[in-house]
Symmetry: C2
Subunit: 196 residues, 2 copies
DNA sequence: ATAAAAAACTAATAATTGTTAGTTTTGCCC
DNA sequence: GGGCAAAACTAACAATTATTAGTTTTTTAT
């Protein structure tokens, strides 16, 4: 029927991936059929295959785009000379910003990665493990420098990563609270606690 | 072929639900076929229907069992007279314990609820909303009593709930850290922060 | 305007899905 | 050990799935 609409500098493949991310987020990877995706793009299902190789390629593109984004960021932070606590704060703010700006893709990478096939599944998990290791090292350094309390660094990383990840539930309340308040309060909560 | 094994006081339906929770957790609701579930129970797929009504009933049972568990707990805490900070600590510890003891079902309730059909979907979301409201009220009370810093209570609830939810990533590291350390460190992190 | 390339279409594929109907086997009670 | 209910089985269903082959339309470049 119609044609896939493209804006400047956006390939049709990217348009498909974006729409796929939106649908995978709301309905899950397995629940979205290629017909449904094509429908959302105003096209018949087989037409998609002029631009993509397979359904699973869509998931791969989404997951690794997100994975690379965070990897690049952590490498930048690691090579900086700021105090450890500032580094942690930077990471938390980066997570929050990225989560809110690339909501669909981050959500899908967080939730649907398990449907990746090998070797992509292994690669993705490896990227994630390395990211976590970097964070653990960061916390350990902070403890050594006495910037951070003596706690189990794995638990701290788990707590921080999970908390920022929870922003995926944010949409509902968007109206009430500004992103700035959200960011500041969460950073403060995770760094300084809530008890007076 | 074989028969569904039952222990004392456990109906065959419950055995099916448990196994379903395990499979739904690892492969997602949509990815687990009734044949696969039956296989895992040593039975043919149609035999399941002597005990259950449908695949979706399995998901309903799992989600509402978990939902009710948390609702009962929050109501108990609300009617107690302990200081607000203690109440919050109790809730965090309850989340951690429940997460670790009923891992499969909590995981499925957290991840697969979106595949519930109406009216179950609406009911489940309503239960969850009410739970969150109770927590927000608790934080607000704490702020009024000056037990807790002046922060946005929604952000605090989001941070706490997301952090404990993140325990689903815990399995991997189970070996290294005891549940007690995990619980104490996370409670401490969420209440008092990590910065010296 | 026309030829070539890109991208849409229709039709069809084999596999898998949840579930039903009907039948046979199993386990228990007297 | 005969009868009855519970629960297994086999066979089959209609629907849906991702994907392919082959064809026609649309866009692009000259």
């Amino acid at each position: 029927m119609a044609k896939i609409l493209t804006q400047k500098n956006i390939t049709k493949k990217e348009v498909i991936i974006q729409k796929a991310a939106l649908l995978f987020k709301t309905k899950s990877y397995r629940s979205v059929s290629m017909r449904e995706l094509a429908d959302a793009l105003g096209v018949e299902a087989p037409s998609l295959y002029n631009h993509i190789l397979s359904k699973s390629e869509l998931l791969q593109e989404i997951c690794f785009k997100v994975g690379n984004k965070f990897t690049v960021q952590i490498e930048m932070i690691e090579s900086s000379t700021a105090p450890t606590v500032s580094k942690i704060e930077t990471i938390i703010r980066f997570h929050i910003k990225t989560m809110l700006e690339n909501f669909d893709e981050v959500f899908v990478a967080n939730h649907e990665w398990k449907h990746l096939q090998e070797p992509y599944l292994g690669d993705f998990l490896s990227i994630r493990r390395n990211y976590e290791k970097s964070l653990v090292s960061l916390i350990e350094t902070g403890i050594q420098k006495n910037e951070i309390k003596k706690i189990n660094p794995y638990v701290a990383v788990l707590t921080i990563l999970s908390a920022v990840r929870g922003l995926e539930f944010w949409q509902r309340n968007k109206k009430n609270i500004s992103q700035q308040v959200l960011e500041d309060d969460m950073v403060n909560h995770l760094l300084n606690g809530i008890v007076n």
